[in-house]
Amino acid sequence: MIAYFVACYPNFEKSLEIIKKSIDAGVNICEIGFPTQEASGEGIVIKNAHDHCLQRNVTLKDTIKLAKAVRNYNNDVGIILMGYMSNIFKYPIKNFVSDLASVDVDGCLIVDAPHELREENELRNLMNKKNLSLIKLVAPTTKEERLKKLSNLFSGWVYSLNFSGISGSKSANLEDVKNMIKKIKTYTDLPVCSGFGIKTPGDAKKMTQTGCDGVIVGSSIVEYIGKNLNDTKLPKNVGNIIKTFVEELK
């Protein structure tokens, strides 16, 4: 199971605590989003969490610090950063890659960086050299020919978008997802993980029938955090929620 967290949401300490409890609950990969105003792929839930963090001046640097703390806590869990090119470009790219490597993160996933973007190429090349994965996405609208091209660039695992649209906006059609996973798998042996529209453990369970190798849960966790920002038991409760997902996925 892959869980998406907004870095330092609601703050560094609690965020770290939440991720720790999630790892304890059995999360396989932590996707840590770094906040940005852009967030053009995000629905209102994740967008609000980003805005919360931006108001508190959370930066990509802070996110990397958080990732480092997570790695210190657990050596086996997968850690990838997720976000938009804006922050990475300004970091700038070279430093971003060396910092990623130095905190022993596994890779990252950029929402708005197709391989047509030269800056993506630059980032990917540097990451490859450091054995870091630049996770690529496949969308339902991705045509066969493009998928073929993309498959040469896959690294780590493949993020399969369950529908075209922004996070948190729709539910996935199981049959469509199944066909898509199948199609992707004809081009790659890497794990294919299914994301978008998975809100409940029940959704996650159903998704396993599509042949995917993992599911990504985002908005529903972020939403829970957003609704319980001041709850002192928040990390523990998130852990429990993760547990219900992990149980269903066993």
């Binding site: 930066t59 804006s86 922050n87 970091y91 969308a139 493009r146």
Partner: protein, 396 residues
Amino acid sequence: MSTEKIKNSLKTGSDKDGYFGEYGGIAAGENLMNNLEELKKAFEDAIKDKKFLDEFAYYCKHWIGRPSPIYFAERITKKIGGAKIYFKQEHLNHTGSHKPTNTLFQVLLAKRMGKKKIICESGAGQHWSAAAATAAKFGMPIVGVMGKIDCARVNQNLIKAKHYGGKLKIVEGSLREAITAAIKEWSNNPDYYYLIGSTCSSSPFVDIVRYAQSIIGKEMREQFMELEGKLPNEIIACAGAGSNFTGSIFEFLDEPEIKKVVVEAEETAALTNGTKGIQQGMVTKFLQSDDGSKSLGGSSLGAGIMYYGISPQLAHLKDIGAIEASAASDKELLETYKLVAQNEGIGISFEPAAAVTEALKRAKGKPKDYIICATACGRVEKDLDVIERLIGKDFE
């Protein structure tokens, strides 16, 4: 698109990856890549289709009322004392700005692609009302997105768009947020046509909008040759993201002896004060925080030129010295509006007032046969109440 091929011509559009030098490109989500590819092909196809181009020309003439005339601003010229100041009267177009030329081109393109519904963003509501009018003309449903800040001050445009049948979604913020939100809507509905209002966002949008708007400069060439027997020495136009400016100067890009000056709102002068970054689907200059997570910039009276980014093509052209950049303050916009109204009997909106402000500065002391053409890309109606509130007493 130019008839003679010039070596190192600047009139070639973006390169195969959608870049202009180091700016431009595609910074979009995977779920939009197919759309953008499809759009690019459709665009390249369409502009090779004589029938399509004829149709565009037909509606430009009959519906929009093109060509917009050039106008010698005689009394202002006399007042300033120097170069001859001309206006390219884009405000005489249907809906009152340069915007409908672009919306017309793209709605025709959307129809040609078999699209059934249109989505767009808007800053000043000029693009929104032009887009809604165009959609109505061709019987297409349309959804628009605008920022709350802008909606409040351009109310007439919203009413007009509503009457044309457009459905508006209002989001927090201004044009930046409207573009982001419109892109999100598009992501959710990739079967829609995304009708962008300016030369920004991912390739091929910059080329498409530039293609449509470059009719401005083409008309200018013909009109100046007819009226003055020569081309203007300087062409000045305002820019939000840059469609009006690009449209005004593209025709002359391979003629370096013609100065080209883009004028931004002082508060959001991305070309002058911005830094390179990747946002809003493109690599270009932005007013942004050092870490790229936030946009910067204040508020201008010119709702249509209040954008924290700029066309990537313009960022490139400025870098290579092909264009100059300047900016105008709110105070200047008001003063220039007044001057133009009282001396030429033309009520321009705040956006072109930025261009005319710069023209006035540059005209001073120039030889009498020196010609400066400023594009008057909007009429005052949408700004009238604000002007009356701010300086109404000046006219009493």
